[in-house]
Symmetry: C3
Subunit: 369 residues, 3 copies
């Protein structure tokens, strides 16, 4: 990548850190950032979690961002009380620029009735439909589709192959990762006596400012009105947001989560990977939903839940520990019954289908049949 | 969007509804449809579920589709015994047209040996391979790929970036949402003494009439013969259909469901979000599979199952209620044992790894470390 | 498809099989391969699993690959001690060629500073950025994006709409299915007092030789250094690999699996569909993770685990059998308590929310409301 390089003194100044060198010659040029384990002699590293302090001895890093109590442990230190956010800021100095094209490609199709703001970059093979409007300084990578009457705020980045169906609204400074699809038809079908009836989806998708959408994620347009995602909310890859969902601000939604139609999500909600939320529910602000959780009822403000279906997280942790002990518990109960002279339960034959399926799958995967 | 507008009398006539107005001046112009809560004075709304009847007082809607018993509650009513399907039909009057391009773009690559039916729309940046055949009136949005010898029936819509690999067959009136991939190679690998052996996938994908495939969903081509999806079946977004799966008619498959290779699914099957089905199974017609269910054995006609692995749904609901009570049950059993003079179980230390992982994740997500 | 056709004697010779015919006229021309049930008179089939031996009588197949003990049961046999791998090799004789374009399209954008190896095929609508380098004989299907300074080994195949963000490295003979995204920004966000802070992702993705990535799967680039996938590892469709994950060789990762950031996976690991793995874990070589499993702790070499959270697979199978018996167990314990004169537990009202959600969903899916 285009190499960035800075003297330590320059980095210290830019980040407002105190530079601590053993000698003036130590003000070396830094060319990148890496972990304590992998950093080379011209790379900067950091120590945030004290349990990795022992790595300070072995590291090859040219310099390290540390707390004052570790200043003496390294030849070249950038000193701060809170290394992690400083490290994050240092990263911005070395971030790869993705994309180098500028201007509006003659190989893009921009409808004459589309309105493209000042300083936008439109790569080849993009299609921008009539009455679409892009703010200033947007970057649209190859293969993107921006349908009729979409509105993008200033400084949005659409990575390759993003699709915005007609009427999608983005705020300012949104980042859409490759393959994200906004505004596809919601899953509106109903079984009737005459078979499946499709319910037209005439709404749209409305996204706030600084929203990030992950690779190949999908946000469906509303049946009526809008599917809404609030300012600063970030979705990871392969996330599904159903029609008429309304999400608040600053939510973090991890990969492969699915949120069903018409569910309302508050602010600062965190959902771990592969969690699923049923439709028409309310998820309170500041709540946290665990990995693979299955949410089937409303979640209150600040609640922390896990399991499928969900319980409060402590109950989930306790039951998760007890479930493996069920075979033992059944034995213990049988023993009590015996002592009290009960007839032993006539065990109905155990269902072997799960084991059968599993063995067949193992055999296939390891080709024993 | 291009505004559609109709007088109430025109809507009543088109849908065959009885119009009930307080005065002739009430035959106003309607410009859209919305919920009772959000509808404005020129929008039409509907009341289907009686529990929302109280909203009739507060609504700003210009008119409401209601049952006869609510006719008196609104100034302008469209009266029917079954409002919901009438609402769905009314939607079609106001549905946004997606896409406005017509004809065959000179920026599309259509192979001279491809056969494009009368009245088709081919957007820029589409690639249509040799011996592919499109029926009449198909619409192919930007960035679609239609491989060698694909066959599309009349009136199919391929939204942006749909991929049909060679040999894919679509019936009439299919709708493929953006990013759907049909005919990618099935996951055919076997471990052998010499490492992983790839098993060529020489089959194809065969789709019936009126099938809908969701955004970024994938239907793999068969190892041999065909992966089949029957007429009227609808898949939501991010659904995975493995090679050699055969699905019947009018199935509804909700987002993020995965169906493994060679499983056969009957007609009118409904699968809720994130459910998974193992390979080589038979799923009976009219059966229903719950959210996040894990199907590891055959499901009979009309069965309703839930849980992972699945049980009949009532058992699933009961056990789901009891699992949170396990901590209490273990205490109760310990107490009985004590009364009968058993030595207390020497508890082996509980496995804390789950809580540890969780706490680490929480710390990261809320940046405490 | 371009029909391939071979005489049985030619197939026997190519695969090194013994040909067993009832008469010389039986050396017929074979035009394809199919299952015993579906094969026609000019198609080849095989019998690997003895439990399907009865199909030999009914099959219409022109010839069958069989073990010696079944040689007498068919008119035309190709005889081997291990039919399955021979069948897999026979498939390669009849595999459809996907794609027929050759050369470098004038409708592709190849940056003058990009380096395209000898014999590459670049379809229309591909974008190849500055300083990208493709080895010999790569095939890049329509709509692919190859960012700055990507490096591809010889003989890689990128099916339509694959995205490689800047700096991605592929070894030789990799196959990327349609819509796969490599090198999108990892999900690097932290909550701070000032709200969500984005952590720039300055690393890249590094893929070994003979790696396959499924349709619409996503492999995120590292925050620092690289996200690594080892030689021969195969990912199915809709798989998510988080930033800084490091996977070994010859792993098989089935559809919709998610692996969270910074987890290390050994060699020959198998993960079944929809399994999820938390971040910062170690998954030992030769281990197997069951379907929908939730991995929250390290997995040892060769371990086989299932459930969410995971336990060893036998415990999982046993508990899965016992959970449906919980209602009965609670009754048994209550009965014991009664005999010992305990006051009956005052049952707190069961939580009906799950059933409520379910009934609402069923009603919607079958449109009763």
């Amino acid at each position: 990548m285009p190499a960035s390089a800075y003297r330590l003194s320059e980095i210290a100044e830019r980040l407002g850190l105190r530079l601590s060198l053993k000698s003036p010659e130590d003000d070396i040029v830094i060319t990148g950032i890496n972990t304590l384990e992998e950093a080379g002699p011209t790379e900067l590293s950091f120590l945030s979690n004290p349990k990795y302090a022992h790595q300070l001895k072995a590291t090859q890093a040219g310099a390290v961002i540390v707390r004052p109590d570790h200043e003496a442990d390294v030849r070249r230190a950038l000193v701060t009380d809170d290394p992690y956010p400083m490290f994050a800021q240092a990263l911005t100095l070395f971030a790869h620029p993705q994309g180098s094209f500028t201007g509006i490609s003659h190989l893009a199709c921009v409808h004459p009735e589309a309105n493209v703001g000042e300083g936008c970059t439109i790569y080849p093979f993009c299609y921008i439909g009539p009455r679409a409007s892009l703010g200033r300084g947007c970057i649209v990578f190859p293969g993107c589709y921006i349908g009729e009457e979409c509105t993008l705020g200033d400084g949005c980045i659409l990575y390759p192959r993003v699709v915005l169906m007609a009427g999608t609204v983005l705020g300012a400074s949104c980042v859409l990762q490759p393959g994200a699809v906004l505004g596809a038809e919601g899953f509106g079908f109903a079984r009737t006596a005459e078979g499946i009836q499709k319910i037209p989806q005439i709404g749209h998708v409305q996204i706030g400012d600084r929203v990030e959408i992950g690779a190949n994620s999908a946000v469906d347009r509303a049946a009526l009105s809008a599917t809404v995602i609030g300012d600063g909310t970030c979705l990871d890859n392969l996330v599904q947001i159903g029609h008429n969902v309304r999400m608040g601000k600053d939510c973090l939604i991890v990969s492969q989560v699915g949120i069903s139609g018409s569910t309302h999500v508050g602010d600062n909600v965190t959902m771990a990977g592969q969690a699923g939320v049923s439709g028409h529910l309310h998820i309170g602000s500041n709540s946290t939903i665990g990995p693979q959780a299955g949410v089937a009822k409303d979640i209150g403000e600040g609640q922390v839940v896990g399991g499928s279906p969900t319980t409060d997280y402590n109950t989930y942790l306790r039951t998760a520990t007890l479930i493996p002990k069920l075979p033992e518990l059944f034995k213990r109960v049988a023993r009590l019954e015996k002592e009290l002279g009960h007839k032993p339960m006539t065990e109905k034959k155990a269902d072997r289908s799960l084991a059968t399926m599993w063995n067949r799958w193992m055999a296939k995967m390891h080709h024993k049949s």
